[in-house]
């Protein structure tokens, strides 16, 4: 219930400073909102800081590979994003939008003339998480093989309770006897979401909102959708197309609703993760921005100090909460996937009892 309420509450956050400052300093707040939204969205380079030197803006960023496929000419361009900073004309017909940090067409300034398969900052974040998790899991596996039957040690004993929890509290209660078949997916999806959530909380190199991106959550939700429906038994489909014990004319209404439910369940998974993580990022950034908003409003230093005094304690609290949310949302996604799969593979006997 809490999880369902949170996305809407947090999505409303970016508008809070806007409404409050609208009458006086619309410029500052809309600039802040733009800044926040650019951070939350994907980008073709990992922007770290902007320095104002003698009126000239200087961007410090980690360059990332760009892989672009031109729709009309069919030309594939591969280059580092740092090349786009060298000249204003751009490179290979592409240039960097300094506001959004995205590659755009050099002529039109839009992104609809090409396909962008670049290693963006979100992809970079995902790959980082992928390598960290792969190393961790293979290290743990080696420990289990080497010290078979013995008590866990080191990193093994940190991860074992989490894995044990997923087995005992998520997989077995929802999936029953067939839980082992789905265990690798559940554990993979949990840790993949978790590592991306956690990397998103690390400033500078991370702070990247990859698990809060709708594309990311869409892919994971699609995997869950496929897993649920490909494993659905006769009984599951019977309940969707012809609910037993219901008059024929009711089925005319019920079947479309049930069919919609097939898609809605994963869609809710997708939106919940997206909303929670993006909302969290927006909340943190909005509170950080308080320092700058108040700094520009009043006498800059004093205003910034006051803003900092207000923002830092709140920021600490929100960040701690985000740490909790990182675990919670990974757990919720995994748990709901397990529940949905469990409902799809449930035996006839059990399903009858639930109705």
């Amino acid at each position: 219930m809490l999880a369902l309420l949170m996305p809407s509450a947090l999505l409303a956050n970016p508008e809070v400073p806007v409404n409050a400052e609208k009458s006086e300093t619309k410029d500052v707040s809309s600039e802040v909102v733009e800044h926040i939204m650019n951070h939350v969205a994907d980008a073709n380079e990992n922007h770290i800081a902007t320095i104002h030197e003698a009126g000239v803006e200087k961007h410090i960023s980690l360059p990332l590979p760009c892989i672009l496929y031109n729709k009309s000419t069919g030309k594939l361009s591969v280059f580092m994003s740092s090349k786009l900073h060298d000249s204003h004309e751009g490179y290979d017909g592409y240039k960097m939008d300094n506001h959004t940090n995205r590659v755009v067409d050099a002529e039109t300034g839009k992104r609809d003339t090409f396909y962008d398969f670049s290693i963006t900052k979100n992809v970079f974040n995902m790959l980082l998480g992928f390598f960290i998790l792969t190393i961790i899991f293979f290290t743990i596996k080696a420990a289990y093989v080497k010290r078979a039957g013995q008590a866990p040690t080191g990193i093994q004993s940190f991860f074992e309770p989490i894995i044990q929890f997923l087995i005992d509290e998520v997989a077995i209660p929802n999936l029953g006897a067939k839980y082992e078949k789905f265990l690798p997916y559940l554990i993979c999806v949990f840790f993949f979401i978790l590592i991306n959530n956690l990397l998103g909380l690390v400033p500078f190199i991370g702070g990247i909102n990859s698990s809060g991106n709708i594309s990311f959550t869409l892919v994971l939700a699609m995997c869950s959708l496929l897993l649920i429906n490909l494993n659905g038994n006769k009984h599951y489909w019977q309940h969707i197309f012809a609910m037993p014990g219901v008059p024929k004319w009711v089925l005319v209404i019920l079947t479309p609703i049930e069919l919609l439910g097939v898609v809605l369940k994963p869609a809710v998974l997708m939106l919940r993760l997206f909303g929670n993580i993006t909302g969290g990022h927006i909340a943190v950034l909005a509170i950080v921005s308080l320092i700058f908003i108040m700094g520009k409003m009043g006498t800059t230093i004093g205003g910034a100090t006051a803003g900092g005094a207000i923002a830092i304690p709140i920021l600490l609290f929100v960040n701690a909460m985000e740490l909790f949310v990182a675990f919670l949302q990974a757990y919720v996604f995994t748990l709901l996937t397990a529940i949905f799969i469990g409902a799809a593979i449930e035996d006839h006997h059990h399903a009858e009892e639930n109705h």
Binding site: E34, I140, Y144, G149, P184
Partner: protein, 169 residues
């Protein structure tokens, strides 16, 4: 566009990112899921089973020890009873042996006393006969001396003296 950005852009999936997420996640799932998580969960399950087995066998062993202890106690009790019984029997045997020995000793003593009496009687008779003989001899000698002459040691006189001695009784 009051906010300077398009809110719908947040909700629009990006083809490139969908592509990379799919690749990264599927590779992760196949690689880590198959080659790391499966062995890990199997190892955890195996260990769980071995712990459960060890616990149940320990419980069994405990029960066996308890049973053994109970049987030991009963065995000890039996042994005690047995030894008490044996002791009691031994005492009875001892008592009866002593009593028998006592009786036999008494009988033996009585027999000895009886035969002693018989012997004494015989000896007494023999002694008396001896004494009579001696007395008769003495009397003869005395009579010889008294008479101052050598009496004829004939058979008549001897018989006469013997009868005289017999009358002394």
């Amino acid at each position: 566009m009051l906010l300077g950005f398009d809110p719908m852009s947040l909700l629009t999936p990006d083809l490139g990112l969908v592509f990379w997420t799919t690749i990264v996640f599927l590779v992760f799932w196949l690689l880590v899921g198959k080659f790391a998580i499966k062995p890990i969960t199997k190892a955890i399950k195996d260990r769980e089973h071995s712990i459960a087995d060890a616990l149940s066998s320990a419980e069994k062993a405990k029960q066996e020890v308890q049973e053994l202890q109970q049987s030991n106690v009963s065995l000890l009790k039996e042994a005690r009873e047995e030894s008490a019984k044996i002791l009691k029997e031994a005492k009875e045997v001892k008592d009866s042996v002593i009593a028998e020995a006592h009786n036999r000793a008494k009988e033996e003593a009585a027999k000895i006393v009886a035969s002693a009496k018989v012997e004494i009687d015989a000896q007494k008779k023999a002694a008396l006969a001896e004494v009579k003989n001696e007395v008769s001899k003495l009397s003869l000698e005395i009579a010889q001396k008294v008479l101052g002459r050598e009496l004829d040691a004939s058979k008549d006189q001897q018989t006469y003296i013997n009868s005289l001695v017999d009358k002394l009784n």
